[in-house]
C-alpha cells in the first residue's frame, strides 16, 4: 500500500563499532613512546571506516612495534622476527576480504626481514604496512638499527654507528610494483591519521614509514627533529593527502609534489637533509597479488571433485 514495496526495509546499522570495540589489552609501551599515537590513529581509522573487528587482522613481527596486535580488539598474529609480511600475505592469499594491517619496525622490516619487505612491496597485496622507525633496537635495549644515523651511540657501537643509515624510502620506491609510499612523523597526529587512512583505503600495499620517538634509547634523535620543524618537508598536492591547516602551521617548509610522478618521488626521497612527510608516490592501478592467489576460492565441491577426477584420469590405465 501507499506504493511501498513489501520487501523494503530501513537501512539500519545493526552493529556500530566504537573506539572501544577496537581496544585490546592495555598498551605496555614506555611513557612518551610514539607507538601510543600510532595505535590511537589505527583505532580511529577502524572506527571511522566501520571495519568489523572480526574481519580485521593485525600482523606483526618481533620488537616494540610488533606488540601492537595485542593492544587491538581484532584478530592478531604476533609472529616471528622479520616475518610479519609473509604471514600477512598468506592470510590475504585465500581470504582477500580480510582487512590486514602490518605493524613492523626498522629492525624487523629493514634488517632481518629485508627480503620479505622487497617482495611484499612487489606482491602489492591490499594491506596497510606501517613501519615504526625509531632508529634503534628498543626491545633488546639499544643496539644499532639500519636507520640509526652515523655516529649514533648504541651498545653495539659504543663509539657511534659506523655506517651511514639505510634510506627505506629510496629502496621502497625502487621496487617494481610499489604502489603507495608515504612517510609521517608520530608527533603530527592529524597528518598521521590522514596518511594512514589513505594507505588503508589504497588498493594495494600502503607502505607508511612512521618516524617515531623512542624516549628511552633514542631521545636525542627525535628531539633534534622536533626542535627544528624546518628539517621536515611537508608534501602537498591536489592528488595527495588532505592537509589539516594545523599541520601546515606545524611544518612551514612545504613543497607541492605530484604523487603520481615516480621520478619526482625518488628525488624527494633521495634528499638527505630534509625529512619529507606526506604522500610520496601512489599508483592505484598496480597489480595486486591476491587477485591471482585467490583464484578458485569460489569453486564448489562438485567442481573441485570434477577437476580432481580429470587429473586422476590422466594417469589412469
Amino acid at each position: 500500500m501507499f506504493g511501498m514495496k513489501a520487501d523494503w526495509s530501513l537501512e539500519v546499522f545493526e552493529r556500530y563499532f566504537t573506539i572501544g570495540d577496537y581496544a585490546g589489552g592495555e598498551a605496555r609501551w614506555c611513557p612518551g613512546c610514539g607507538d601510543h599515537g600510532i595505535l590511537t590513529a589505527v583505532q580511529k581509522i577502524l572506527r571511522d571506516e566501520q571495519v568489523p573487528p572480526e574481519r580485521t587482522v593485525a600482523v606483526s613481527g618481533i620488537g616494540c612495534s610488533s606488540r601492537m596486535p595485542h593492544y587491538l580488539g581484532t584478530f592478531g598474529f604476533h609472529g616471528l622476527h622479520g616475518r610479519a609480511l609473509p604471514i600477512a600475505c598468506g592470510i590475504k592469499s585465500r581470504r582477500p576480504e580480510l582487512d590486514v594491517w602490518v605493524a613492523t619496525g626498522d629492525g624487523d622490516c629493514f634488517s632481518i626481514g629485508t627480503a620479505h619487505w622487497i617482495h611484499a612491496i612487489r606482491y602489492n597485496m591490499d594491506m596497510t604496512l606501517m613501519v615504526f622507525d625509531n632508529g634503534v633496537y628498543g626491545l633488546t635495549k639499544a643496539q644499532t638499527s639500519p636507520t640509526s644515523p652515523l655516529g649514533f651511540k648504541t651498545n653495539t657501537h659504543p663509539g657511534g654507528a659506523i655506517l651511514p643509515p639505510h634510506n627505506p624510502l629510496t629502496v621502497t620506491l625502487g621496487i617494481t610494483n610499489a604502489s603507495f609510499v608515504a612517510q609521517v612523523v608520530d608527533w603530527s597526529p592529524p597528518l598521521m591519521y590522514e596518511v594512514l587512512k589513505a594507505a588503508h583505503r589504497h588498493r594495494g600495499t600502503g607502505f607508511v614509514r612512521i618516524i617515531q620517538r623512542c624516549p628511552v634509547y633514542a631521545d636525542s634523535l627525535s628531539k633534534a627533529m622536533q626542535s627544528d620543524p624546518s628539517k621536515v618537508l611537508l608534501l602537498h598536492h591536489e592528488k595527495g593527502i588532505p592537509i589539516d591547516p594545523a599541520v601546515k602551521r606545524q611544518f612551514p617548509n612545504q613543497i607541492e609534489h605530484d604523487p603520481s610522478n615516480l621520478s619526482a618521488a625518488r628525488d624527494v626521497a633521495q634528499n638527505d637533509t630534509l625529512i619529507p612527510v606526506g604522500l610520496l608516490y601512489q599508483n592505484p592501478d598496480a597489480i595486486c597479488y591476491e587477485t591471482l592467489s585467490s583464484q578458485g576460492i569460489e569453486f564448489t565441491t562438485k567442481r573441485r571433485l570434477a577437476g580432481l577426477n580429470a587429473a586422476l584420469d590422466r594417469f589412469t590405465i
Binding site: 585490546g24 589489552g25 568489523p52 573487528p53 572480526e54 574481519r55 587482522v57 593485525a58 600482523v59 596486535p69 595485542h70 587491538l72 580488539g73 581484532t74 584478530f75 592478531g76 598474529f77 604476533h78 609472529g79 616471528l80 616475518r83 609480511l85 609473509p86 604471514i87 600477512a88 600475505c89 598468506g90 592470510i91 590475504k92 592469499s93 585465500r94 581470504r95 576480504e97 580480510l98 627480503a115 620479505h116 622487497i118 617482495h119 591471482l292 592467489s293 585467490s294 583464484q295 578458485g296 576460492i297 569460489e298 569453486f299 565441491t301 567442481r303 573441485r304 571433485l305 577437476g307 580432481l308 577426477n309 580429470a310 587429473a311 586422476l312 594417469f315 589412469t316 590405465i317
Partner: protein
Amino acid sequence: MEEKYQADSSAAGGVQTVPEHIVEIVSDSGEGAQKAGQTFGSVSAKMGNGVWTVEIIPAEIKPPARSPAGASGIRIRLGSGYVTNMGDEADLVVAFNEQVLYSRIANGAYKAGTTVLLESKWKDDPAAEIQAQYSRAVGEFRDNGLIVHELPMDQACREITPNPRVGKNMFVLGMLCHLYARDLEIAKKEVAATFARKRQEVIDLNLRLLQAGHDFSRDNLGFQFQVSPLAQQGEQRYIVTNGNTALGLGVMASGMELVSMYPITPATSASHYLADVYHDVGGFVHQAEDEIAAVGFAIGSSFAGKTACTITSGPGLALKTEMVALAVMAEIPLVLCVVQRGGPSTGLPTKVEQGDLLASIYGEPGDAPKVVVAAATIEECLHFVIMSRRLAETFRTPVILLTDANLATGVQPYPRPEPSADWLAPPIDQTDWDPTVPPYDWDEETGLSPRPIPGMVGGHYVLTGLAHTNESKVAYDSNSNQLGCNMRSRKLAALAGTLKPPKVYGDDQGGDLLIVGWGSTLGAIEEAVDRARAQGHRVSSLHLRFLSPLEPGLKEIFGRFKRIMTVEINYSDDPSAPLITPENRRYSQLSILLRAQTLIDIDCWSVVLGHPLQPGMIHRVLVEKLAAMEGQN
C-alpha cells in the same frame, strides 16, 4: 648382415619367458633416456605388468658428454607380480655411449650375463682417442661377462632424421617395445600424449622413430623376452605416477587450496605438476621469495582457515625451523612435505637419503611436539597428504610428511583413488564464536581445543609465538608455560591412542631377527625378508609410518624376537670401523629413536651411498647378521 650385430649369439634365441626383467637406458644428459624409459614403464603398466622405475640423475644440468659422471638415464623393473623396488642387477641395458656405463658398473648395476645394447658409432668416430676408448671399453665389458651387442642405432635413426640426438630415445623405445613384445599401439598413444603440446610434424617424426626402432630390433636382434602380466585385477582401476606427482594429487584430493613453496631438488617437480593442473580444482601454487617466506605464507593462510601445504627438502626444512616451531607453539595446522635428499648441507641434491627423521621430530629449539609420518610407497605419497591435512586440523598442529628422492622419481601403478566430497576440506567455519570460550580451550585429557578463525564474530584473539595462557595472552609465569607445553605434548599421546600396532611382515609369532624400517625402503626390505625366509631363516620385518608419535605396541612386538635391527639410508658408524666402540658408536636415526623409546638394545645397519637400498644388499646383511648372532650363541 644380422650377424654383424650379434656379438654373442649364445644369449640370443627366440622368445624367453622370464618372471621379471630389469632394463636400463643410460645416456648423456639431455638425450631423452628418461622420457623413453618412463614411456616404456607406462606402456608396460598398461599391459598389466608390475613396474617400478627409478631415474639415474647426474647432479649437474650439463655434465660433459661421454663422461661416467654424466651418466643420465633410467631403470625400469618389470614383473609378472607387484614390483615394489628397483631390484638388484639389470638384465638388459641400452647405452648411448660406452663411457656412461662405467659409472653404472661402479654402482654394481650389472652382472655377468647382463645384455648390453651399445651404440656403435663411436667405433668410427673421427677422433682416434674416442675410437680407442670405445674399443678398450667393449673389451673390458666383455671380459667382465657383459654380453655386448654393438648396434648402429644412430645410423639407423639418420635414415629418418638428420639429428638423431633428439630422436634416438624414441628409436630405443621402439626397440624395447619389440624386445619385450609390447603393444605398439599403446606405445604410439603414449608417445602422442607425451608430445601432445608439440607440432604434428614432431609427433609424426617421433612415431616414425618408434616404428623404426621396433623394426630394427625385429630385423636385427634374434631374441625377445616375455614378462607375463599380473593376474586379472577385476574392476579395480589403476593409475601410474611417480611419488611427487602422487604428492600433488594428494594435495588436490586433500582439499588444500594453497601450496607455498620455494624451488628445491628433489621436491620441486611436485609443485611443477600442481602448477600445471591446480587451477582445475581452484588451487594456487605460490612461489615464495625464500623457504622461510614459503612456510610463513602457508602459516598465514592456515591461520586464516585455509590449511596450506609447503613442499621442500632437507636444506629447506632447516630454514623453516623457526616457522615450524611457531606453528607448534601457536597450534596452527600446516602440512609440510619433505622430499628427502642426501645431506648434510647441500649434500646430494638429486639422490636419496633418509636423513631428516630426527631433524623433523626434534629439529626445533625448545620442545616442539608435532606429527611426523613417512610414506613407504608411491600410493602412500598421495593418501598421506589427505591424512596429514586431517591430522593437522584435528590436532591443531603442523604435520611433517616425509618422502624421499626414491619415491619422488620412482613410477609405479597403484589403485586409482575414487575421491569423495569428505576428502576435501569443508568450507571455513564462520559461525559466531562464544566469546566466553578461550582460543585455546584445552581439554586437559587430550590437549585438543577448537580454533577460532578470522571472520568469526566474537572469536578474535591475538596469536603469539610467546608463551601464553589459554586466552592466548602472553604469559611468562611458570605455570602457564608448563601447562602450554603439557597440552601441546598431550595431543601426541591422544593421537597415539588412536593408532593400531604395526603389522609384522613374515612371522607375527616371533623369530631370530626383526628388521625395522621406515619410508621408501619397504619394498626392498620385504623382498629381502622373503628371500631369507625362503632359505629357512627366521627373519621378519616391520615398517613404521608414524614416527611421531610412534605406533603403539612396539616394545611388546620387539620382545618376540631375539634381535631387532633397523635398516635405513642414513648415517651410522660401522661397528668394525677404527675407534668405534659399543660406547661411542653413533646409531642410525630410527634406531636412536627406538632405543630411547623402548630401552631395547636395537642394532642398526645403514649406508649413505646415495642410491636406494636393493633387496640383494639387504638380504646379504640379514644373512650376515644371523650368522653373527649364531656365532655369539
